[in-house]
Amino acid sequence: MASANGRWLRMFNYTILYAAAVIILIPVLNIILSSFKTNQEINRVFTLPSSLQFDNYARVFDNSYIWLNIGNSIFITGISIVVAIYLTSMASYSLARRKEWIFQALYLVFISASMIPLAANLVPLYVLMNKLGLVDTRTSVIIISIAGAIPMGIMLYTGFIKGVSRSLDESASIDGCGRVRIFALIILPLLKPVTVTYMVISSISIWNDFLMPLLFIRTASKKTITLAVYSFMSEYVNDWGAVYALLTIAFLIPVAFFIYNQKHFYGGMTDGSVKM
């Protein structure tokens, strides 16, 4: 009886999982298949592409700044995350180690900002960037991305440093090391695992951002890949083959990154969560 029950349960479980996986994969397969179809074939949704032709991809590479757009995304994400790591790891060292009330207060200042929706600051951010002459530059997106990544960095690093034994700093301090050297030579190397987590998770959210590039970047050659996909769709409404080719490229980059760094995604979320 029990074993029959167990068998049914197992079958039920596998059915659900396979169904879920198919539901996730169908839209993905659709864009990949469609990217190889001619524009006539695309409307016939149930057919496979007649031949493996790369014309759509060729048109994407001819009619867009796709290499520049990918480059811009890499540049914006890379610079933002490096600066954010530098800023938050240093700040967290003080926030985690010092007991004065001011540091507790500052910690709250950093953490509670995750409740401020970007939309609430849309107008003043635009005005501010305009005053600084940064509208239509990648710098504006970089700055806002760094500010956006700070709360999570503070959370991850402060939690992590609290778990690092104080005796390490103290013995170094007795040996005559200054604060800066203690941080750079002793603490920083220990932060490597949490830094990787932070890097991986923040990169994805900076890479995927759409609202800020939409607001600040106008020139086609400065656009991020996400914004470029949107602009390309509005411009080539009748060329869905090319749109699908570009979508496929834009889809596969973060997926490849994710598959390569999987364990950091899974572990990282809980690292962040336990400290909340």
């Binding site: 879920a20 659709n30 926030l95 200042v109 501010l128 806002i144 700070i150 995927n208 996909v229």
Partner: protein, 295 residues
């Protein structure tokens, strides 16, 4: 000497925080304070002059059916996404936490949509939901033409299409959080529950759920703040239509500021939005925290 040393330490500690703090204050809190300032004016974003209009903008926000509608749509979107989403995420987690062949592959596949920009996701789904799209064609093929709808231009259905896509995107993400929570339950507790004859629904409600409340807290926090900010889905798929039924708060602020050039008014919607999100998340954190148990 000792005192001098301690002062110097404090100074260094403050200097360490300073760069992050400066950037943060300039691009997070200063804009927020400017939102408050602009919200009291009728500034159009370009003129050199503007008048202070007191709380007029806020009175307008609370009597503007379009803005109130945007808040309603956003909250509806969030509530349905979270309720249905949680059931699906938890269900998948409860299955995948067992010994399953290919568990890793399932995990990867289900999580994948969460790493893609919502913009790309939205565009991926156009092919399915447009009038001549895959869903309607499939319905035609199997003779269920009566079920075909104008999915992206229906006053009642369309918001639910956006909800479905949102749930689809985040199912695997929430699932992973719940799996981590489930794996943290000590095996003795599960064994003790089995000895006492607790199985199925009773075990889930009385033992499992209370023990994974920390995972629920974090997941709720992420889902609430995420889904209330929804922008790309309606921006790409519906433009807020039909008849503003999928207009969301973020879209409303964006359009008010940059299409209608009402910077002052957009700021007051933004401020109300901030206070709204802050209140909801604080309530949520207090409530779910209280439900967490020690073991």
């Amino acid at each position: 000497m000792m005192r001098y040393r301690r002062r110097l330490d404090l100074l260094y500690a403050l200097l360490f925080v300073l760069p992050a703090l400066t950037l943060f204050l300039t691009f997070k809190y200063y804009p927020l304070s400017m939102t408050m300032f602009y919200s009291l004016t009728n500034w159009d974003g370009f003129s050199r002059s503007y008048q202070f209009v007191g709380l007029d903008n806020f009175i307008s926000v609370f009597s503007d059916s379009k803005v109130l509608g945007a808040f309603y749509n956003t909250v509806y979107f969030a509530i349905v996404s979270i309720l249905l989403g949680t059931v699906i995420q938890l269900g998948l987690a409860l299955i995948l936490v067992n010994r399953i062949k290919g568990a890793k592959v399932f995990r990867t596949v289900l999580y994948m949509p969460a790493v893609i920009s919502a913009l790309i996701i939205s565009m991926t789904w156009i092919a399915f939901f447009q009038y001549n799209g895959i869903i309607n064609q499939t319905l035609k093929l199997v003779g269920l033409e009566t079920l075909a709808h104008n999915w992206l231009a229906h006053p009642i259905i369309t918001i639910h299409v956006l909800i479905v896509i949102n749930i689809w995107q985040w199912a695997g993400y929430g699932m992973i959080i719940y799996i981590t929570g489930l794996q943290a339950i000590p095996t003795e507790i599960n064994e003790a529950a089995a000895l006492d004859g607790a199985t199925g629904w009773r075990k889930l409600r009385l033992i499992t759920l209370p023990l994974i409340m920390p995972a629920v807290t974090i997941n709720m926090f992420i889902s609430i703040t995420g889904s209330l900010r929804v922008f790309e889905l309606p921006f790409v798929l519906t433009g807020g239509g039909p008849m503003n039924t999928t207009n969301t708060v973020t879209m409303s602020i964006y359009n008010t500021a940059f299409l209608s050039n009402q910077f002052g008014y957009a700021s007051s919607i933004g401020l109300v939005f901030f206070l709204f999100i802050a209140t909801i998340t604080l309530i949520q954190l207090t409530v779910t925290r209280r439900l967490e148990v020690e073991y």
